[in-house]
Symmetry: C2
Subunit: 242 residues, 2 copies
């Protein structure tokens, strides 16, 4: 039932770093099990603590914050290989919620073991810090996109980022990837209204840049999309997997 860390399908991917045998065996002990989350399930709740931490093994989700007035800001998309709950792990509580958009399979860890990880496996602790720093970079880019770009560029940015990340974990077939989010999710991610997001998507489709339908994103013109998104070409470095 549960996947052995030795045979972790993610770690084989180019996107992730290799791990020494002793590290793998530590991860094997660190991992307490697996969890299947149904679409729509809230995996972690804003303001709550959690005894468990997760790594997304399969499926996709959404990170979001709920504001005092009820508005929602989508903070990011959870894709295979993403770590969930770092904040709950090292701080008192989560600053955002995490929800499953598709069915998701999660590796589970005990928060209480996190300190053991720091004490006995500094390399893994270092990796955790890198994951946090990577997340910070990501959020900085999102902030720049939401703050500075116009609607067309914002939507392009979100789709480009999503396409790039999903391609890195080999979820694409040709130039199309699954995209299990609603337009409302996209709108909430980029700070746009649903209506305007929809019209912007229609224009991108007319211009033969991307097509978004039936939970599938097809990129017809990757170059143009990257231009519109003002994408900074990341020097495709491998990232750690917890």
């Amino acid at each position: 039932m549960s996947t052995d860390c030795n045979n972790c399908p993610l770690r084989k991917l180019d996107a992730f770093e290799e791990m020494s045998a002793s590290e793998v065996s530590f991860m094997e002990r660190f991992k307490t099990g697996e969890l299947e989350a149904q679409p729509g399930t809230e995996i972690m709740a804003q303001g709550q603590s959690s005894t468990h931490l997760f790594t997304c093994l399969r499926g996709m989700g959404l990170r979001y914050k709920t504001l005092a007035d009820g508005r929602r800001q989508v903070i990011g998309f959870v894709l295979p290989g993403d770590f969930i709950g770092l904040q709950a792990g090292v701080m008192s509580e989560m600053s955002h919620s995490v929800e499953a958009s598709t069915a998701m399979r999660l590796c589970t860890f005990n928060r209480s073991e996190l300190w053991t990880l720091f004490k006995s496996h500094p390399a893994r602790a270092y990796d955790l810090t890198r994951i946090a720093a990577t997340e910070e970079v990501f959020l900085g880019e999102a902030l720049a996109a939401v703050g500075q770009l116009d609607a067309r560029a914002k939507v392009s940015w979100a789709l480009h980022r999503f396409y790039t990340r999903l391609t890195a974990v080999k979820q694409q077939t040709g130039n199309t990837v699954p995209l299990p989010y609603r337009q409302q999710d996209l709108a909430d991610a980029m700070g746009l209204s649903l209506v305007h997001t929809n019209k912007t998507l229609a224009r991108l489709r007319e211009d033969q840049i991307v097509t978004l339908s039936e939970n599938q994103l097809t990129v017809h013109n990757p170059t143009r999309l990257a231009e519109l998104a003002q994408a900074e070409d990341a020097p495709n470095v491998k990232r750690p997997l917890i």
Copy 2:
């Protein structure tokens, strides 16, 4: 000339955690010196690596990203106690630049010693991760503000956050704090135009909420400001100091 970590003026503040004697002595060794940065100096540059990491001891600065089209997004404000260069430390390069707005005094550390820190001082490594996670929380809130609030709330949010943070490190006198940033900086932080930011500030002044002039921010009505900013009252936890 250089401040002894034993007598660090910051660590005495309520905002920061205590540190054991052995930790202090490690920090003393970890710290390689101090640096005085003049206003306008670029302390770290986006896309560059750095052999040094810093903690801000005195003064204030600005983190920002420059986009492909030349626009600028201010990512955050650097205040006393803030760590600078975590990304350069654990990743190949910085994703944003850091600039001094006032004269700044910086504690300097060697990037090459960072790994020693992880190996020999797991508690300090844990603290570093918490700092990264805190930054992530911060950016998430900024993203929500920029994405969801209207101009008035955005400006209120920025001022409220600034006032709150600066008060925590005891830089206020009465209800006024120094604010060494230009309106353009504020505008770039919240994704607004300079003109609109200016008009919004004028309205907040008319409404007797805050006054911003001559590099001083005076908060006349803190309650109303927090309301407008939709501030989530943080459970004033102490944060680690590196």
